[in-house]
Symmetry: C2
Subunit: 451 residues, 2 copies
């Protein structure tokens, strides 16, 4: 999405402290857009801008600004009453998202602004593991009883009108709060008023245990095309609901994490724009230094063949070409595998079938590349060098592809994240293999001991 | 999500042609699960398994099997009446997804199974550009008029009960079909029956032009936390609705495409599991061959410094180490930038600010790495080689990082996809730069002409 001109202008107005113009500019905008225009403002400026918003829009706009960079500093600027109003009106899941990223002392400060009930709810939710379904759920949903008539259920929905987000789906629970099923508001409205709620339950509702990972929740929502997913405890008691909008954020975060990993960067849990240089340094330096030490083996392999290199110095010309091709082919394979494993397109048990296919593709690629460089070798070093270069290319591309394919599966097999098989790691392994393959073949073909 | 044991067993039953057990096994399952258990079956087996399903579940299960690999072959196996029933009951957007991937002749065969209305709808939808919002929309939604009472609107919803998917939100249109706003079913149910529909419209509905890209639709649904997005023509006339479940698939596809591109693979539009080896070959060979020709420059650079290498052969030991580090740092930067540009976390106009930050991070990384290899150089080649290696490392890491950062922005600036700055491309560019930097420094420091 292109940056929107109107939001850039609005931002300019705020930066120029042209307060009187703001109410009219805010009026037609969605809260998400207002939050975007305020992104990155100083807390004092942001508070001043908030003052030009109708008070009833405060919680909604507040919900869409960044928790650590904006929500918390803004709360510190606000007087106690405003802070209480905003924080108490924040949906519980958003409140938890703010609290979970703050230090203990700050959390206690914020607890003073909340009702005892809200504190209890927050403590409860913070008790679930990080990145679990329990952390992500919200508690704004409506439950009905199986024995109620549809008319009574509808009456109950009306009475719970402010229980916002999840109300398109109603959850049917028994007396102990155990989830029995789900009924859409649509079917409730369309059904005969005297029919019983249980007659609309078509089967057990899809649900998730609170302790399971958010990613699992995302896969369920995606698979079953539902817009909300009930969260239950081990006894099947309904605890909360995860909505599809939060799930889309989870999916995006997970993709970003995998993306970073495949590029050899530790997962950033905040925006690249907001990330401090020191954080970026820490997320990158580990892999870089580790790979340097791996590349010492590459250097060692070269040193081992020093005599061959000195005898036929032209071989060095082809070194980047051959070695990089193996790394590139490997980076391609690992990228394909890591993504397919992440989306569930490919399962660990598919590895053997895919291995056969990958081998075929790799041989075809290697032969193509071998032919492409054979002429080059012939031209620069004669027939023997041409043979060395072409043969090495075939083997190096096959070797790189196999490493790139097998490593993600092997990592999964031993309980590691397949995305650890990053492009830089595969490239380094393929480089070492490539150097050994290339100079071994060269030594065998070119350095014939005078018989 | 782990493969589910019950589905694997069900699949075994089908493969063993144990038909009598199927109805009981199908009964408690969701249609998505049944479709998964059938994945990859031969069309005749799949048809036989369908016959054990109640006929009213056919269309729903059919909607979840793969269009090209399963839906079309299955239709060819079915008798005309069954085919007509299934195809006609398929939601229009799923029908379009099937038709758009078939050759013209097959499309015409399928048209014979459809009512003239459905054919018209399909032709209409196929008239929108590939990957546009128009292709993705479905036409199952309910419209109401602004002047109607809520009671009348609710009556209208009841009468349109089978207009499935989008019915949690009703769209308000004028006499010419122009979109005026959106009203949730919830607010309709909760409102006073005599109130007018227009009193519930809070502002202009978020909507998208049919000709715009699906990715734009995805960003809007994500941004505004909505579960359906109305699609309009240039006059604002409502044409259809895009639902969040389809958008999640779009987001996943777009991520996969970027993922593949950053790994130097052309975007696969079908599953890796299903992709033929010849397709995988074609998607990979282009970059590999292109990069070989780029690496000739790397070879050329080495050849240019042949005298230096012959004089100090120990330099070759450090070649993979230094050159790869530049490539790795570059792969890290480009991965971070490409993903941040794709998610909208970073905008093209942010480049200067990020450039400064990246330069700082790169220098810190380069110095760390320089120190790490300085001792190694000292040990293997003496003080001068240590200096050459350490100095080269700093410059190479900074150079690689800068290329990795700037290239995605430059590509965006000139209208290309930033993900074209793939890890293999950045690695190759960084390699050439690395060779030049390393041997230039080595020549300057080590090969002093005898004064």
């Amino acid at each position: 999405m292109e940056p929107r001109e109107d939001l850039l202008q609005l931002r300019e107005r705020i930066l120029q402290e042209d307060w009187s113009a703001l109410p009219a500019q805010f009026e037609p905008l969605y809260v998400q857009d207002i939050a975007e225009a305020m992104q990155g403002l100083e807390p004092t400026q942001m508070l001043r801008a908030f003052e030009e918003l109708p008070r009833e829009r405060w919680p909604a706009v507040f919900a869409y600004i960044e928790p650590i960079e904006a929500q918390y500093p803004l709360l510190q600027q606000m007087d106690v009453d405003d802070g209480r109003y905003v924080l108490q009106s924040l949906p519980p899941d958003d409140r938890t998202a703010l609290l979970e990223s703050l230090p203990q002392d700050d959390v206690e400060q914020l607890f003073k602004l909340l009702t005892p009930e809200a504190v209890k709810q927050a403590l409860n939710q913070l008790g679930y593991p990080e990145d679990s379904a329990g952390r992500l759920m919200n508690t704004q949903y409506v439950t009905v009883r199986p024995e109620w008539s549809l008319a009574r259920a509808l009456e109950h929905v009306r009475a719970s009108a402010d229980q916002g987000e999840g109300v398109n789906t109603l959850y049917v629970t028994d007396k102990s709060g155990r989830l029995l099923g789900a009924v859409s508001l649509k079917r409730l409205v369309l059904g005969a008023p005297k029919a019983r709620v249980e007659s609309l339950i078509s089967g057990p509702a899809v649900s998730i245990l609170a302790s399971l990972d958010q990613e699992e929740a995302a896969r369920m929502i995606q698979r079953y095309d539902i817009t909300s997913l009930p969260v239950v405890d081990r006894n099947g008691v309904l605890l909360g609901v995860i909505t599809v909008d939060d799930i889309m954020d989870v999916l995006e975060e997970e993709s970003t994490e995998d993306f970073h990993k495949i590029g050899g960067v530790g997962a950033l849990d905040i925006s690249l724009r907001e990330a401090r240089p020191s954080l970026l340094y820490r997320k990158r330096v580990g892999w870089l230094v580790l790979l340097v030490f791996m590349n010492i083996f590459g250097g060692g392999a070269i040193a081992y063949f020093e005599a061959t290199i000195e005898a036929v110095i032209a071989l060095v010309f082809f070194l980047p070409l051959i070695v990089d091709s193996g790394g590139n082919a490997g980076a391609q394979s690992s990228t394909l595998m890591v993504r397919a494993l992440a989306t569930g397109d490919v399962r660990p048990r598919d590895w053997l079938r895919l291995w056969g296919k990958e081998l075929g593709v790799a041989i075809a690629l290697g032969v193509t590349m071998g032919i492409a460089v054979w002429g080059l070798g012939l031209w620069r070093g004669g027939a023997d060098v041409g043979t060395v270069v072409a043969l090495s290319m075939v083997l190096v591309v096959v070797f790189g592809s196999m490493i790139g394919m097998v490593l993600p599966f092997a990592l999964t097999r031993f309980g590691f994240d397949p995305a650890t098989a990053s492009a830089p790691l595969i490239t380094s392994i393929a480089d070492i293999g490539g150097i050994l393959i290339y100079f071994s073949i060269a030594t065998a073909i070119l350095i014939v001991p005078a018989g």
